[in-house]
């Protein structure tokens, strides 16, 4: 199994969700996150006082998938999350040792 993690622009979440659903993914976890990449942050001004906001809001999407689906799913997420502008985010996958469905106790791919 693989854990696919995508850190994306918040307003692309719906597209990514829909694309994953169309692909056949059964469940996912979404977390509000903040961070920066090459685009860094932005500047805000309050009564003339300028503040640099380094960490910009992002959304982290996590999906557990079977090994053979992982490569294809990466492409699906990337395609759905892309706007072509700087700050679109990153997607990566890591191997997962095991997974258990809490309700039934099923293990491994059956738990997905």
């Amino acid at each position: 199994m693989k854990l696919i993690t995508a850190v994306i622009k918040p307003h692309r979440l719906d597209e990514v969700k829909d694309a994953l659903q169309a692909f056949g993914v059964q469940g996912l976890t979404v977390t509000e996150a903040s961070g920066y990449g090459r685009q860094r942050g932005h500047t805000e001004v309050y009564r003339g006082a300028e503040y640099t906001v380094d960490l910009v809001p992002k959304v982290r999407v996590e999906v557990l998938v079977e090994d053979e689906d992982a490569e294809q799913l990466l492409d699906v997420v990337v395609k759905a999350a892309r706007t072509g502008k700087i700050g679109d985010g990153k997607v990566w996958s890591v191997p997962v040792e095991t997974a258990v469905r809490v309700r039934t106790g099923e293990r491994g791919p059956d738990a997905l």
Binding site: E44, Y46, R47
Partner: protein, 431 residues
């Protein structure tokens, strides 16, 4: 008794009352989230404290029979001698009690105005003590000077229709003195201190604007042409000040900010307060524009001069108050303007500034010496809401809480009293 005037003044009193909670929201939205409730409470407590002081002795000191032009007598302590039927302004006047209530709202608002300068870093109890003393030895006497028959600025014919000098200059200077005693917030100029909720700021500004019609027009103490002039000028000057502030901001900083629009509105309201009854609508536009442009520049002074007037009480209320107080000498259209009047206006403004600054500074030092004005470094860093109010402004996570009687660590009530239901069922292990 004049029923129309009485009704108008009573309604105006209620409008002015709304300004203090409005101010609380205006300031509250501007601070960081960790001390948002503390900021609200610093204003709200003034309604509690000063309302009581006012009837105990405040009204008497401000509007009792004059003693040497400086202070009222003690004849109306506890409002004694003021009956239900007593009238002010002759047989066709309004009940004295309506005037007492109307002026009470001014007295409650004025100390609250100073709280913005001391955001995020003073002990709540010390603040309560400070405004108790400040209302007593600064506000009540100055209100007497400016508005009471026999008061020396009143006799000098200084124009302060609704409180540019007695309220805004007075509070602005008092705030400056207190800031110099208390010092800067930890991280001032180093850390970003973004407003945590600009919608709250706009809501607060809107309530202030609404209430200000009572503050300004109500000061006519009658439903008449003066009140109408004042109400109209209040609207026009405020509008112009928004434009002035935004214009300056767009040129200087590149954006039309929401905070700038709200701040501009308050600057305009402050500036028209002393002047509005004596200028026409065009004069009101000029006053508003000047206030918007100058105050938006004045709020940057604190960074250059290094005093941490956190929410710009000086830049908005002191500067705005001075603009309105002086410009009425130039722009008055009802024959009261002119160079002589300008001199009187300046004398009024500067004598209140000198008095208020000196006494406020001494009071702040006194409070600091007796109870310590400043919150501990830990409390300031962690946020005053937890330290003084045992509350959190916004519940963003529903998980992680438990009744204090069962909780393992933390809560104030932890060791004190367990709730009855938990009695005997708890095994508490102290590490």
């Amino acid at each position: 008794m004049n029923g129309a005037d009485t009704a108008f003044v009573l309604i105006s009193a209620a409008l002015v009352m709304l300004m203090t909670p409005g101010l609380a929201l205006f300031y509250g939205g501007m601070v960081r989230v960790k001390s948002a409730l503390n900021m609200l409470m610093m204003s709200f407590i003034s309604l509690g404290i000063v309302s009581v002081l006012w009837v105990l002795y405040g009204y008497s000191l401000a509007f009792g029979t004059d003693t040497g032009g400086l202070i009222g007598s003690l004849e109306h302590i506890g409002l004694s001698g003021i009956g239900t039927e007593a009238l002010t302004g002759g047989d066709e006047g309004i009940p004295v009690l309506a005037f007492v209530l109307f002026q009470l709202m001014f007295a409650a608002l004025t100390p609250a105005l100073m709280s913005g300068a001391l955001a995020d870093r003073v002990k709540f109890s010390a603040w309560a003590l400070f405004i108790t003393l400040w209302a007593t030895v600064v506000y009540f006497p100055v209100a007497h000077w400016v508005w009471a028959e026999g008061g020396w600025l009143f006799e000098l014919e200084v124009i302060d229709f609704a409180g540019g000098t007695a309220v805004h200059i007075n509070a602005g200077v008092g705030a400056l003195a207190a800031v110099l005693v208390v010092g800067r917030r930890i991280g001032f100029k180093r850390e970003p201190m973004r407003p945590h909720s600009l919608p709250l700021v706009v809501l607060g500004a809107a309530l202030l604007w609404f209430g200000w019609f009572g503050f300004n027009a109500g000061s006519a103490l009658g439903a008449n042409g003066t009140a109408a002039t004042m109400a109209l000028n209040t609207q026009v000057a405020t509008a112009a000040a928004i434009l002035g502030w935004l214009l300056y901001e767009r040129i200087r900083h590149g954006a039309f900010t929401t905070l700038g629009a709200a701040s501009g509105a308050i600057a305009g309201l402050v500036a028209i307060t002393p002047a509005g009854a004596h200028v026409n609508a065009v004069g009101a536009i000029v006053i508003g524009l000047v206030a918007g442009l100058v105050c938006s520049w004045a709020v940057s002074l604190k960074y250059r001069l290094g005093y941490d007037d956190s929410l710009d009480v000086v830049g908005v209320h002191l500067v705005g108050g001075v603009i309105g107080t002086l410009l009425v000498g130039v722009l008055a259209t009802d024959g009261v303007g002119g160079l002589t009047q300008l001199g009187k206006q300046a004398a009024g403004a500067f004598s209140v500034m000198a008095f208020s600054f000196a006494v406020s500074w001494v009071l702040a030092k006194l409070v600091d010496a007796v109870v310590g004005f400043r919150a501990s470094e830990d409390d300031e860093t962690a946020g005053l809401d937890q330290a003084y109010h045992a509350e959190t402004a916004y519940d963003f996570s529903a998980v992680g809480g438990s009744p204090a009687s069962r909780g393992a660590a933390g809560g104030r009530n932890d060791s004190a009293t367990a709730s009855p239901s938990a009695k005997g069922t708890d095994k508490k292990v102290d590490a």
